[in-house]
Symmetry: C2
Subunit: 239 residues, 2 copies
DNA sequence: CCTTTAATAGTCAGTACGACTATAAAGAGG
DNA sequence: CCTCTTTATAGTCGTACTGACTATTAAAGG
């Protein structure tokens, strides 16, 4: 804050950009909007918009999330601030500083009917081609951050509906990490972590197709995983 | 980015705030500046300042870091973006959006001679009383983030000079976590992690006082710790 | 009725880690 | 010079956790 009171300062435009992630059919998807105007006309981009004068970035992000997804109630959805992107050239028209967020939706959400003009679509993460601005980087950062937080927090339940099976929870990990996991081991680890999930009491069971019906669980009260649930080591361990 | 081209937008002042951390005599210290003017005149605050028109937040943070510490070369110092604070009321004078950073300095740095007017001082983390604005929160977030990254990255070496002993490295963990660690176990873990540290070849040894002289190590090439070095569990494990 | 599919149960060995004890190499003080 | 203190380093032991498996159960489909 030095020089705060005596020097002139430059005003900046401040926006929020959202990487809205969800699981559809076991695959990670991201919500994208198509740009109608230059620059990057016709390219897909992350949803976002300007901060209003009396809004925090978190408030603006939640407002944009509601507008873009068309969901009536976005309270309770997990919103995570990623970082702020401020390189001078990131928007060719003017100086824009953007606060990026990741939002996690329980799937599968409706095909989406935006309240606004711009078209919005769920796109598989892998096929989210070159995006406008620096949104490729923001999207990659979102996946990296969410993947890391899956290891040591209970964040995975944010992708699941109120009641879910352990198989669905495992799909979250597999989709975000891009790695298959051993089912018995995953189950053992999740159940051994106090407060991660709790069984739905009424011996309730869900049947989606063939196979033995799975027990239902709810998110527990814990927020941290201790010890963490580490992904299969990226660097090859010695055989 | 919806509405990007058609709606008016509010300009904001954008600043960076820095939590500059280091170790002095085994204790975590933070660099603070005393405010000369209202609001919060006489209170201590984190150093920081406005973004210049052609600067990214990272560039501005490194510039402020050089100015405030008086260090000739701040390249190579670890700078970590924490998050952006944008609550409307955080500065009583005007709407200010601040991108916060944590900077890690190898200790012990000189008592500090700022190039600027404002007085700057190293203050033990625990005694960094109520700070101006929302800087208490930023400082707490900095410690939380750094403490977490110590667990699964090689960040601790950023607090150490080019060559250091394992005892010094352990002091980093103990100061940031506020927990004593078992020395043999710490040593075993660090040496067992490939690429974390590498011995200085010339059988070099350092003597600081009494006791057996310790071997010197350099930071290795690894950036991630796999498996992580977990702190003694916060939640009490069953006996 | 048999096959397929998915959930759940259980085994087993290797690794990692917490809690220790023991030894080595320096300085300080008599 | 000898001993005490201090710090670094070496090693031990038992438990917890995990990865890689195999086995069983309960549904759907033909």
């Amino acid at each position: 804050m030095r020089g705060y009171d005596k020097h002139a300062f430059e005003p900046f435009a401040v926006t929020v950009d959202l990487a809205v992630l969800t699981l559809r059919a076991g695959a990670l998807h991201v919500l994208l909007v198509e740009r109608g105007q230059e620059p990057y006309a016709g390219r897909w981009a992350l949803p976002g918009g300007f901060l209003l004068p009396e809004e925090s970035a978190e408030t603006a992000a939640r407002r944009e999330l509601a507008e873009e997804t068309g969901l009536a109630d976005v309270t309770g959805l997990h919103l995570e601030q990623l970082r702020t992107y401020s390189e001078p050239g990131r928007d060719p028209r003017m100086r824009v500083v953007s606060v990026a967020f990741a939002a996690l939706l329980p799937g599968p959400p409706e095909p989406h009917a935006g309240t606004d003009a711009a078209e919005a679509r769920w796109v598989p993460y892998e096929k989210a081609g070159p995006l406008a601005f620096d949104h490729d980087r923001i999207l990659a950062d979102a996946r990296t951050r969410v993947g890391a937080k899956l290891e040591y927090t209970c964040l995975a339940t944010a992708f699941c509906p109120a009641e879910f099976t352990l198989g669905e929870l495992q799909q979250v990990y597999e989709a975000v990490w891009g790695t298959p996991l051993d089912r018995p081991n995953f189950r053992r680890k999740v159940l051994a972590t106090p407060g991660f999930v709790e069984p739905v009491p009424g011996a309730a069971r869900l049947t989606g197709g063939r196979g033995k019906p799975a027990a239902l669980y709810r998110a527990g009260t814990a927020t941290a995983l201790n010890p963490p649930l580490l992904r299969p080591s990226r660097e090859g361990r010695p055989a």
